[in-house]
């Protein structure tokens, strides 16, 4: 028998109207010293299983049947004392290190509390143990950092603290729920290496819950693919991801952007809806298509932006934060230009300056022939019409109290108030068709749509003014891979048909490789390297680009 065995686990969430079966007949097991990957898209039940093992299901979730056997303990049995295993034999780490530590307690206090909950040792020994743990997870200068508060640690360091906390009582199993999703790639690779080392040093069983196929293929020994609460397939990553036997797994694997080559389109297996390319794009009738000459559309020269605390009552002068330093590049008509970098690299700040949401501290931005920093009045309005933005978070970027038709019609009316109601209605319908949404969507509200559909609505809204440049700020990073593939395909199709120029901002290197013609790599607000996508990925010249590409988990099915 394996160390932890889950047999026929069923979990459901009774709601007022119906019983939602979150997990159905799931069975798998984990051995000591093994990393088991639980992979699936949102709603697949992967996190629910992780929580259920610890008896931490959110209300009103309930284990309906099956067993979770940890040696001689059945964790699914409500009679089993949670204190016998929670934190003691099983540790759990969460996705977001920013929110998983109590902000008003020092790291040391939280460690001491956890250690003394499980082990009968005095404070002095507990402190020693806590510092050893911090040391072990790679916190430099653990003794002095012991008394620091969580906000004084960077994201990666915080995740290390979280891991130290999970290891306080020497558990046998570590459940890691999306442990690197909120982290930058270079930090991600460090945390994954740490997990692998801890697994080896402590003979830990690790259950790694993630949506990221590349992470699984890099470090998991076995993988369980979940869909809608059921196990689709399980086995070694090479077998399951390299040669999937089930349609769902095949589809999932084909949606993952490859890191080693560029593909034209993502193959979408069961796409029942015709894609935009097959149809006649009706919005083309309204589009004044011009041949893209490859001339420069946007030119950015020595752009800098620093943020300083500008409060009136400020007494001590603070060092301003230089978010963008002396950045120059150009975006040519019809191309996809990528801005890549980790958090804090200034990529979003640059985008905001290009669309004139914030003003640069110094430097010039030319759009077509105009210096946009001096634009005002009708010229500014004309500029705004030609440049539109798609934001990262599809949940907060649409006004929840407006119907879809009004959301899309708003920019049309703003830029062309002479249009009649009939004409606007037709235009909205055409735009919805262009992003593959049913015409019946027009009278619904944003909350009735999924994340991917909302992102389509955002794109339709951006296209409403017939822009030349579409600025996409991490447009797919909140979406599942299969949805991401659809959205990326849509963007590619629209670009081709409508002759759009795209400024694509992302931290996700494989996605950038698929989407962009030329790429600028940013670090701490400065450009490291600007190169053609293929050249950058095959032969990066700058050290930092090389470092980024090495940190990127490779998906090699």
């Amino acid at each position: 028998m394996d160390f932890l065995e889950i047999t026929n686990l069923n979990i459901s969430y009774p709601t007022r109207r119906l019983l939602v079966a979150a997990v159905q007949d799931v069975s798998f097991s984990v051995k000591k010293g093994e990393i088991l990957g639980l992979v699936g898209e949102s709603g697949s039940g992967k996190s629910t299983i992780g929580r259920a093992i610890l008896g931490l299901l959110d209300e009103p979730g309930k284990i309906e049947g099956g067993s979770i056997q940890l040696e001689n303990l059945n964790l699914a049995d409500p009679a089993t004392e949670v204190s016998a295993f929670r934190g003691k034999r099983i540790g759990l780490i969460f996705q977001d290190p920013q929110t998983s530590l109590n902000p008003v307690m020092t790291v040391g206090e939280q460690l001491l509390e956890t250690i003394q909950t499980h082990l009968q040792i005095d404070t002095g020994d507990a402190r020693k143990r806590a510092i050893e743990l911090l040391d072990d997870v790679g916190i430099i200068d653990a003794k002095t950092r012991f008394d620091d508060y969580p906000h004084q640690f960077s994201g990666g360091m915080r995740q290390r603290v979280v891991i130290a906390l999970a290891l306080c009582a020497d558990p046998d199993i570590l459940i890691a729920d999306e442990p690197t999703t909120a982290l930058d790639v270079s930090i991600q690779s460090q945390i994954l290496a740490l997990l692998q080392r801890l697994r080896a040093d402590r003979n830990l069983a690790v259950i790694l819950i993630t949506h990221d196929m590349a992470v699984i293929s890099e470090i998991a020994d076995r993988v369980v693919v979940l869909k809608d609460g059921r196990v689709v397939e399980m086995g070694s990553p090479a077998a399951v991801l390299g040669n999937p036997s089930q349609t769902y797994t095949k589809r999932l694997v084909s949606s993952v952007p490859p890191t080693d080559r560029r593909i034209d389109r993502f193959p979408i297996m069961n796409s029942d809806q015709g894609s935009a390319t097959d149809q006649n794009l009706k919005i083309l009738n309204r589009w004044q298509l011009q041949e893209n000459t490859g001339a420069s559309l946007v030119r950015v020269k020595s752009l800098s932006k620093s943020f300083s605390d500008e409060s009136l009552m400020r007494i001590t002068a603070k060092e301003p934060v230089h978010a963008v330093r002396d950045v120059s590049f150009e975006i040519r008509e019809g191309e996809s230009f990528g801005l890549v970098g980790e958090s804090g690299s200034g990529k979003s700040t640059i985008a905001k300056m290009i669309v004139k949401l914030i003003e640069p501290t110094s430097g010039l931005i030319f759009f077509e022939q105009d210096d946009i920093t001096t634009l005002e009045g009708p010229a500014l309005l004309a500029f705004r019409r030609k440049i539109q933005m798609v934001f990262q978070d599809p949940y907060s970027s649409l006004n929840g109290r407006m119907k879809i038709k009004n959301i899309i019609a708003e920019p049309i009316l703003h830029h062309n108030s002479q249009l009649g109601q009939m004409d606007i209605d037709h235009y909205v319908d055409d735009l919805l068709a262009a992003v593959d949404l049913a015409a019946s969507s027009r009278d619904r509200y944003p909350h009735e749509f999924s994340g991917g559909q909302r992102q389509r609505i955002s794109i339709a809204r951006a296209l409403a003014t017939q822009p030349k440049l579409l600025v996409c700020d991490e447009p797919t990073s909140a979406l599942d891979v299969s949805i991401q593939a659809q959205i990326l395909n849509l963007l590619k199709d629209l670009q081709e048909k409508l002759g759009l120029t795209i400024l694509f901002i992302s931290h996700d290197l494989p996605v950038v490789r698929q989407m962009c013609d030329r790429i600028a790599v940013l670090r701490d607000g400065a450009v490291c390297e600007i190169a053609n996508a293929e050249r950058l990925f095959d032969a990066p010249t700058h050290n930092y680009s090389r470092h980024l590409l090495n940190s990127m988990p490779k998906f090699q099915p």
Partner: protein, 327 residues
């Protein structure tokens, strides 16, 4: 951190100057101060003489400067009606009001936080629902109704508590306290309960909402996942995080308790500053009114200052805001 406090002090002084200006204009422009001071039979020459000696012919900014200089020394002139220095009157009445306010703050905070945590943890229990129901009544009933209701029940029907006054007081230096005699303590119960009820119910609801929200956060889930006991999750992790907004609201509310003790003091004939103020309004006793205005503003400013310091003690993120961060 030091610069932050310096900034707050400068702001506080600014606020106090504005209030002083208001209070000064009240004194000078609501009716003619000379008319308010002298009788009908005073001759025009005598009035002009008085105007001169009081400096009322000086330019406004000099008069204001003099007012501020006096106010700093708590010198607000003499009450028109009682013919005694205002500072003396206020000093006499202050202990009564402060004892009332402190007693009701302790009641409001103690019960408010405790019941708030209780109802936040046991969201569906019968007792929780009962507490919330009663608290709704506390929020919606006006103070004077509650006061009269309490008097009716405890003084008229049951006859166990006095319906008015402070009972016997003991003089310690300038401070007259009712806390050391049985009748003084008995007399304090009804008014302080009346005054605290609104704040208490408000704090219950606030703490409850905070606790409910905090129990959903990742760090609480993570604490549970580490096997931390329920008791320390609630009182160690959740309560401390819920205190930040509570301190803000409670701080401002203690200020309002001082200011709005007027109604409670009137209902219970409590010989405090509020009662003094109401009488002053009746007789257009401007010096008392303007002194009271400045005093209440001072209480508010002082409490807000203390609240800011408490933030620093509760929330470490504020403490290091100006220092280096590596995040």
């Amino acid at each position: 951190m030091f610069s932050y406090f310096l900034k707050r002090i400068v702001q506080s002084v600014g606020v106090m100057l504005c209030v002083a200006l208001l209070s000064f204009s009240l004194f000078n422009f609501v009716g003619d101060p000379i008319n308010n001071m002298v009788g009908e039979e005073t001759s025009t020459e005598e009035r002009a003489e008085l105007r001169k000696t009081l400096g009322l012919n000086d330019p406004i900014h000099i008069q204001f400067g003099r007012f501020v200089a006096n106010a700093v020394q708590f010198n607000f002139g003499k009450s028109y009606q009682l013919r005694r220095p205002v500072s003396e009157l206020i000093a006499e009445r202050m202990p009564a009001t402060l004892e009332l306010v402190i007693a009701s703050s302790i009641l409001a905070l103690g019960f408010g936080v405790f019941l708030g945590v209780y109802t936040g943890i046991n969201r569906t229990g019968i007792l929780s629902n009962f507490i919330l129901f009663v608290s709704l009544a506390g929020v919606s009933l006006p103070t004077f109704v509650i006061g009269i209701l309490l008097i009716y029940i405890f003084a008229v029907i049951l006859g166990i508590l006095p319906s008015f006054g402070r009972g016997e007081v003991v003089q310690i230096g300038f401070w007259s306290t009712g806390l050391l005699t049985a009748s003084g303590l008995k007399a304090l119960i009804l008014p302080s309960l009346t005054l605290s009820l609104f704040q208490m119910t408000y704090i219950i609801r606030l703490v409850r909402a905070e606790i409910v929200e905090i129990l959903q956060t990742d760090y609480i889930k993570f604490a549970r996942a580490r096997g931390i006991s329920n008791h320390s999750v609630y009182f160690g992790h959740a309560l401390r995080n819920s205190l930040i907004p509570v301190v803000t609201i409670a701080g401002i509310n203690i200020g309002t308790l001082v200011a709005f003790s007027i109604i409670t003091e009137t209902v219970f004939q409590w010989p405090g500053m509020g009662f003094l103020f109401i009488q002053a309004v009746k007789f257009v006793d401007i010096p008392i009114m303007s002194a009271y205005l400045v005093f209440i503003a001072l209480v508010f400013v002082a409490i807000n200052f203390i609240v800011d310091i408490l933030y620093f003690l509760i929330d470490p993120r504020l403490r290091t805001k100006n220092e280096n961060q590596d995040g």
